[in-house]
Amino acid sequence: MTEAILHVFRGTNEAGGTAEYRVPIAPGMVVLDALHYVQSHLAPDLAVRWNCKAGRCGSCSAEVNGRPRLTCKTRMDTLALEKPVTILPMKAFPVIKDLVTDVSWNYSVNKKIPAFEPRAGVEWKMSQQDLDRVQEFRKCIECFLCQNVCHVLRDHHKKEQFGGPRFFVRVAALEMHPLDGRNRAALLKEELGIGLCNITKCCTEVCPEEIRITDNAIIPLKERVVDRFYDPLVMLVRKVRGAKD
């Protein structure tokens, strides 16, 4: 029987390192299957988050051989098994234990975003064409891989000033909803710090739902912020009229 060697992070935020496990390989096996094998045969207290095991819930994110992935969609036969497979927790979030990280910061950012509010008196009709681009954003499964690879969060630790790609995707879905009546430009600029994104597209690259985060969500939102706050003509008019913002 073919065997894979896994190097899995064991430990907490304070202390830890990788432990080695040998796992038999079955056809079509994914990394999450290998981790479940470790749990049921070798280390019953190995902490792993997962739910659907079908790429639908976004729970099982980790870094496999250095690449941020959903472990339920990463086939073992796509990895070089002659070398050990390294499985580490997402780097941008504090480790709770083993592969489980503290992602609660994401939930606190989410709370800052005002929900959908229909314009007064709308008729509940929308054309599919108008929905196509919004439905792309609604595919997000909140795996937080985009947050994990974004250098503003991962390397520069700007969690206080910056919302991250996941929440630009959420705001884009709201802003481009054909019947939404709110304007979230100030929120994007002030609270979510969209200006800090310098469109390196790392988020788009890792998105398991293939959402074109940078092109379709972030850039149009940046344009909205620019239109709202930095349009020279509008600024001039405001100045003349004495408006405050």
Binding site: P27, S40, P44, D45, N51, A54, C57, W124
Partner: protein, 572 residues
């Protein structure tokens, strides 16, 4: 006493944050209650995200002739008339409003040409009735409810598991549980509790269900003295993946058949012609699951023991647009391009029709202060659920449970907690660490799944069911002796040791009910009693706890009023 434990107080405590729990929370908040939601996973990850095909609601956007009467009739016929008629009526009448509400909270369903919510065909539904978003309807629903709840301001206790309901003087007063993260214990004080914990599929080996589906809520309610009903009716979805082994059981949405997918055996025969020539692939799930099972058993199965399901006769772009998750799932996990060739599919344990017995109007259980909704509750689906009726169930009865629980909380004073129950609950939880020499909970779980898969599956007989009861008894002893290694810090082995107790209770309830029902009806098929029996059609099996054991009694199916009988008699 309360200083020893972290304690939170709410009017209404909701256990479970899937569609039913979140809808209940929103409704209870709207009625002015303070609401706490406890969930085993992170918010937004509940099993509702796995729902694919759509929400059944007679909106008549595509088929103008549709109305609640037809939906009611389809649901009752699908459940072989064992359904609670009042639940089926309320469900059919209220689901269109519950769907419109989702849209008003920001959900974006696929559209008709004139801009209304698009509806698709599904098994057992007379008309095109399922409101959907491609094949990710559940995700759209849970995200919408989650955002709505967050904006209204509920408190969510994520990655927290309830292990015991607290009772005083015959009513609910709260719940005891632990935080998965650090393993510390927590007490919730509440005037009323809603159970919305979903199903029990993890007791079977081949299942579409996630690790969370361990029957916690049914087991908690039963232990607290509430009644369970219709536990013999476990739905095996006809189409789960069968190959490769790691993905066995993962759901292949019924929407594939709804969009025109065809089932064939290895001889290239369209075998549904033999089992249901009228509805063919869009027959009810019990019929299609048995058909595939029979084809395989009689030697006409595919290479890996399933049937072929083919949608590749439709244009590739259409398939990718209407079934994007299926396209990706098969491409990435099975190396199959479903726009070019067939999928291999076979039955997978999917849904529990039975559950906690509730009052149709308020979702109240037989225990005062306790409410239940969604898959954890029984009654709406009878002996077989139609596809799409689950999401609408979550909305309609989640809403009613939230309202019922808020009303109860409003009418009753705040309870005071009793420390002996809490201390006992704590002792139960730490015991697996203190025992030495017992086996790992994973080994016991493996054997439980084999037992239920082999002896309490699609086809049942007396001998197998009796053997299963004996086996469950010895598994119970093994769980009582099992040992958990490591610390209480995020320890899945420890969590499984507790979940096994719930799985064993519901497994026993399923097996006892299946043994009692000497007929075949809906999802319950007895080889030794292959026909419908009119006398059994008048009885629901009810399970109650009696000391340390479960007892079963038959309860009469409520009489259907004359006007609804008239609707049922009409031809659609």
């Amino acid at each position: 006493m309360t200083t020893k434990y972290e304690t939170h107080e709410h009017d209404v405590l909701i256990i479970g944050a899937g569609g039913a729990g979140l809808r209940a929370a929103i409704e209870a908040l709207a009625k002015g209650a303070s609401v706490g939601v406890v969930c085993k996973s992170l918010l937004g990850k509940a099993h509702t995200v796995m729902a694919e095909g759509g929400i059944a609601a007679a909106m008549a956007n595509v088929d103008a002739a549709d109305n609640w009467c037809t939906h009611f009739r389809d649901t009752m016929r699908g459940g072989k008339m064992l359904n609670n008629w009042r639940m089926a009526q309320l469900h059919a009448q209220e689901s269109p409003d519950r769907v419109r509400e989702l849209e008003q909270w920001g959900a974006l369903f696929d559209r008709t040409d004139d801009g209304r919510i698009l509806q698709r065909a599904f098994g057992g539904h007379t008309f095109k009735r399922l409101c959907h978003v491609g094949d990710r309807t559940g995700l759209e629903m849970i995200r919408t409810l989650q955002d709505r709840g967050v904006s209204l301001g509920f408190d969510v206790y994520m990655e927290c598991a309830v292990t015991r309901l607290l009772i005083d003087a015959g009513r609910i007063i709260g719940a005891f549980g632990y935080w998965r993260e650090h393993g510390r214990f927590v007490v919730f004080k509440a005037k009323s509790v809603v159970i919305a914990t979903g199903g029990i599929g993890k007791a079977w080996r081949i299942t579409s269900n996630s690790w969370e589906y361990t029957g916690d809520g049914m087991s908690l309610a039963c232990e607290a003295g509430a009644e369970l009903m219709d536990m013999e009716f476990v739905q095996f979805h006809p189409t789960g993946m069968v190959w490769p082994p790691g993905v066995q059981g993962i759901l292949v949405t019924e929407a594939v058949r709804g969009e025109g997918g065809i089932l064939r055996n290895k001889l290239n025969e369209r075998f549904m012609e033999k089992y249901d020539p009228k509805k063919m692939e869009l027959s009810t799930r019990d019929v299609v699951a048995r058909a595939i099972y029979t084809e395989v058993r009689e030697g006409r199965g595919t290479e890996h023991g399933g049937a072929y399901l083919d949608i590749s006769h439709k244009p590739a772009e259409y398939v990718k647009r209407k079934l994007p998750s299926m396209y990706h799932q098969f491409r990435e996990l099975a190396d199959v391009d479903i726009t070019k060739g067939p999928m291999e599919v076979g039955p997978t344990c999917h849904y529990m029709m039975g559950g906690i017995r509730v009052n149709p109007e308020t979702a109240a259980c037989t225990l005062p202060g306790l409410f239940a909704a969604g898959e954890a509750a029984a009654g709406l689906h009878g002996s077989n659920r139609l596809g799409g009726n689950s999401l609408s169930d979550l909305l309609v009865f989640g809403c009613r449970a939230g309202r019922g629980a808020a009303q109860y909380a409003n009418d009753h004073p705040a309870p005071s907690l009793d420390s002996t129950q809490i201390e006992q609950a704590e002792r139960e939880m730490v015991a697996p660490f203190e025992r030495t020499g017992g086996e790992s909970p994973y080994a016991i779980h493996h054997d439980l799944q084999e037992t239920m898969q082999n002896l309490v599956g699609i086809y049942r007989n007396e001998e197998d069911l009796k053997e299963a009861l004996t086996e469950l008894g010895s598994l119970k002893d093994r769980v009582a002796r099992c040992h958990v290694a490591g610390s209480r810090l995020f320890n899945p082995g420890w969590h499984l040791a507790r979940d096994l107790c719930s799985m064993l209770l519901v497994s026993e309830a399923v097996t006892r009910s299946a043994l009692a029902r000497q007929e075949s009806r809906g999802a319950h098929s007895r080889i030794d009693f292959p026909d419908l029996d009119a006398a059994w059609g008048k009885k629901n099996n009810v399970i109650i706890r009696d000391g340390d054991s479960l007892t079963l009694r038959a309860s009469p199916v409520p009489e259907i009023p004359a006007d609804l009988k008239q609707i049922l008699a009409e031809d659609s």
